[in-house]
Symmetry: C2
Subunit: 243 residues, 2 copies
């Protein structure tokens, strides 16, 4: 016997509010940046208290779906649809070196898989876009002698997009943001990223040749150099702390 008796839901006002609101957004075809109705109007239309509306919107705000600006209004920050699934992750102690290495291990896994999928799925247009970003990056690397982190990131994003799975870009972007928020000047390694530079071209070559395993291997090599750089930087940091 399955013995499955889910508890009945007697109250779920705020969830109901969010469902209604998601339906509204769908019907009005609202996109990111657009303004949605006032809390007071929502409360009146949905026949619930403004407090309930606020709790519901607080949920969406915590999920990064919406942005509230006092005196102005509430604005969509991302595309919302009635059939969204939420997966909030919390990293405990993410702002020390060990935490950084942990996020990097996740990124290594996703980077390799995205490169492999990209090698399988990338069409001509995606391939051209990736190569364009790669050229820009290499040019920036030559002229500015190494400082090409922004262009580097654009190249990787192009790969994620061409992987055909938006989750890669979502997850890695979230980690990238955390990375930058807490490690803006990563440990003072001056030639940070130098070692990873050549692998961008090799990754692209494998993708262009539709060689998923090669792309995966090259991506792993790239991430290995990044980790080495960070470890070197951490060692430097410890030395300079010790003086």
């Amino acid at each position: 016997m399955t013995d499955f008796l889910p508890p009945i839901q007697t109250t779920a006002r705020d969830d109901a509010v969010l469902k209604a609101l998601a339906g509204f957004v769908r019907q009005e075809a609202l996109g990111p940046g657009e303004k949605l109705p006032t809390e007071r109007i929502l409360a009146e239309r949905l026949k619930v208290s403004r407090n309930t509306v606020r709790e519901a919107l607080t949920r969406w705000e915590g999920l990064g779906l919406v942005e509230r600006r006092q005196g102005s209004g509430t604005y969509l920050k991302a595309a919302v649809s009635p059939d969204m699934l939420h997966m909030p992750l919390t990293l405990a102690g993410g702002n020390d070196f060990a935490g950084l290495m942990r996020t990097l291990e996740i990124r290594r896994a996703l980077e390799a898989e995205a490169a492999a999928l990209c090698a399988i799925r990338a069409g001509k247009a995606e391939l051209a876009e990736i190569e364009r970003k790669l050229d820009i990056m290499e040019e920036a690397f030559r002229t500015r002698a190494g400082m090409s982190s922004e262009e580097d990131w654009e190249f990787h994003q192009a790969v994620y997009r061409a992987s055909g799975n938006p989750l890669f870009e979502q997850i890695i972007s979230a980690m990238h943001e955390l990375f930058h928020r807490f490690w803006e000047h990563p440990l003072g390694v001056r030639d940070f990223g130098h070692a990873s530079f050549p692998y961008h071209r090799t990754i692209f070559d494998c993708i262009a040749a539709h060689d998923p395993e090669g792309a995966r291997a090259e991506a792993l090599k790239l991430m290995a150099t990044v980790e080495d750089d960070l470890k070197r930087g951490a060692a430097n940091l410890k030395l300079s702390d010790r003086r």
Copy 2:
């Protein structure tokens, strides 16, 4: 010049409430399952309105850190610390077949990396624990002729834990939960998981031999069989729909 002047915060009451509460949890050494103070008490102690406390708790509830039970109280659901980083992910359209395959691609990436890291880092105790789960799983597979999804999951969790990086378990668990919520009986494939069975042992062998690349390869093979099963199931589903 970096030109970094963060805007001053004139109002951030609920964030302040959460920070204070995180500090409280830390000081009292509260763990998951334990009850934290009443909303009314928090409001009184922190000198804010109960509504503000509620908005703050709503945030934590949305992040899965806390569970509220009407008439009973508010309970911790996970370890919280003052230096947490939040990374909420929303998957649009996650409950169709394409969405399932997308989450599976992420899982494949993480599964392979976790197995590789595990092969590098697992000590004797972790190795023994994994083998124990493996034995249980194989026994269940023999006696119940295939239906060993629960034991299967326990084996994988043991691998994630031994990877030395809690993020693997966090992320994959979140996906596993989504998976089960929407695909409880995955497409009616009766011998679902049969094909993946032998790879559990091969993965363990590679881990025990401290062979990261081998473990990665075997994990990829395992996920490939799972994806095949699902595709087969989807094809069946289409056929039966058409009748």
